[in-house]
């Protein structure tokens, strides 16, 4: 279980997060929604320690990890798929995946890299190539696959559908559902594509200008036209 309590993060004078509190439960997908610049990315980066919060705390299974080093997150079972440039382009595709498996959660068995290749055939074709030759979508697939090789308990996804073909998005969402249901994975999903995200999420939280303004069951949120209009624009 991942709990976020009163999290406040600033960039210089800019307050990107103000006293955000929510809980992501195992076996559930929590969608984090909000307009551009609402603070979604900052939220995930604060959870995984890339940015240090001004105040508040992050608890993983009751243990405070607010100030734990970023490097330790993987081993604690928290995997973060960063927004955009998550591929180490100078390494080969396979090396990127090997790195993912190297940092897997404590006590977990390694997964065969081939599993990623089965899930994402375009990546498989390019396994010996340097990652910089990959197309935008192929990179995104690589990053997601790499995060899963770390066998996380908590998966933080920052706009995973960015640049992916609709079919692949469907595939990934299906995978997420499967993982959540059968493995009890905790998923925090940041999406610009609110409709898609809500369709697979159990709960949805909405950020606006760094504040958490709504926290609802996903189905309720999708049904509430007023909310949707006010914050999600669809």
């Amino acid at each position: 279980m991942l709990e976020v309590r009163d999290l406040t993060t600033t960039y210089g004078a800019v307050r990107a997060l103000s006293e955000v509190t929510f809980t992501a439960t195992p076996g559930k997908v929590t969608a984090v929604l909000g307009a551009n610049g609402a603070g979604k990315t900052t939220l995930l980066r604060t959870i995984s320690g890339l940015v240090r919060p001004r105040a508040g705390e992050v608890l993983l299974d009751g243990e405070a990890i607010t100030h734990a080093p970023v490097e330790s997150m993987c081993r604690r079972g928290v995997a973060h798929v960063p927004e955009g440039r998550g591929v180490i382009t100078e390494l080969t595709v396979e090396e990127n995946l090997r790195l993912g498996a190297l940092g897997r959660a404590q006590g977990s068995e390694p997964l065969d890299l081939d599993r990623v290749y089965t899930m994402f055939p375009p990546v498989a074709d390019r396994r010996r190539a340097h990652a910089h030759v990959l197309s935008g979508g192929e990179r995104q697939m690589l990053v997601i696959g790499r995060a899963l090789l770390a066998r996380p308990k908590v998966l933080l996804l920052d706009e995973p559908s960015l640049g992916l073909a609709p079919r692949v998005v469907a595939q990934i969402f299906a995978l997420l559902r499967r993982l959540v249901e059968s493995e009890g994975l905790t998923v925090v999903l940041v999406e610009q594509n609110a409709r898609g995200a809500l369709s697979i999420a159990d709960t949805g939280v909405v950020l606006n200008l760094g504040r958490l303004v709504v926290s609802e069951k996903a189905s309720t949120l999708a049904a509430d036209e007023q909310l949707r209009h006010a914050y999600l624009g669809f």
């Binding site: 610049g37 977990s108 068995e109 599993r115 960015l162 993982l179 669809f234």
Partner: protein, 305 residues
């Protein structure tokens, strides 16, 4: 010029599904006189064939959408059109002329502009300066007048600035003129990138995933902008957001594994089973998903609590 015949035969050889390329029914927008066309373009990277004899046409003041699975070769197609990638075979025609020895830095003069799949903004320059760089083509004065800060250089500079401001205003981004791009929300940065492309007053605009990372609202806005732009230019658009593609494109070309598997109007494409199968469909390949779904894997019970 290629013939419709050859294109057709290609598609037939690679694709069992019959799909009728241009020309289409009479009520369609006329494609009679394409301003931009690629003919039999082939690109290989080592052993990988990224584009397999691709041909396509774009008529004036139309929007051509290019869609297809990831890695299908869409960006590569743009790269060919921009001179970043030299095709092994095939030719490019623009405004009735064959483009040989195309170089990216010559595009602006050819009145072609492109946005990048990444943003490619100049990080240490203000938004205004970013856009003014795009206006480079309109500059009239050279090194000497810049060195001596002659009045005409100053006038020139002001003209560039005015153009840049005008485009920024058009895209509702003028209030960010003095900011550095990194500090701006993603959607604004995307508009800045678009402004930089537009300020050169292109007649052909290549947009690579202009909607990625945008909210639905912003996407609506964007489609308005794109439609409005067709007044002034022809547009090629790579995008994975089908809502946007269907809304703004006059015609759509679908790539898969570097081949054209379909070309037609949005309606035709929407219902094309081959496209459905390769790209649009949302039925899930169960085998693939279970590969990464841990369960049933070699070590699923070893996972720590």
């Amino acid at each position: 010029m290629h013939s419709a015949q050859s294109e057709e035969s290609h598609i037939r050889t690679h694709n069992q599904i019959e799909c009728r390329p241009v020309p289409l029914s009479a009520d369609d927008a006329p494609v009679a006189e394409p301003v931009f066309s690629l003919t039999d373009v082939r690109v290989t990277f080592g052993g990988l064939v990224a584009l397999r004899d691709v041909s396509l046409d774009l008529a004036a003041h139309q929007v051509l959408g290019i869609i297809g699975p990831n890695g299908a070769g869409k960006t590569t197609l743009f790269n060919v059109a921009c001179g970043f990638v030299k095709p092994d075979t095939g030719s490019i025609r623009w405004r009735g002329e064959q483009l040989t020895r195309l170089r990216p830095d010559g595009l602006a003069d050819l009145r072609i502009a492109r946005t990048l799949q990444g943003l490619g903004l100049f990080g240490r320059m203000t938004v205004l300066e970013n856009v003014m760089v795009g206006a480079q083509r309109h500059a009239r004065t050279g090194f000497a007048s810049a060195l001596l800060a002659l009045p005409r250089a100053h006038r020139d500079e002001r003209a560039l600035r005015d153009r840049a401001v005008a485009v920024l205003e058009e895209l509702h981004a003028a209030q960010f003129a003095d900011r550095l791009p990194d500090s701006l929300p993603y959607a604004v940065r995307k508009r800045v990138a678009l402004a930089r492309a537009l300020v050169s007053e292109p007649e052909l605009l290549l947009l690579d995933e202009p909607a990625s990372g945008l909210s639905s609202d912003e996407m609506d806005e964007l489609s308005g902008v794109i439609r409005a732009l067709t007044e002034r230019m022809s547009i090629m658009l790579v995008e994975h957001h089908m809502d946007l593609v269907m809304k703004v494109c006059d015609r759509i070309t679908v790539l898969d594994f570097g081949r054209v598997i379909a070309t037609g109007t949005p309606d035709q494409i929407r219902n094309d089973p081959a496209v459905m199968e390769a790209y649009l469909g949302d039925e899930v390949d169960d085998e693939a998903v279970s590969a990464l779904a841990f369960t049933g894997s070699d070590g699923d019970d070893a996972r720590g609590a």
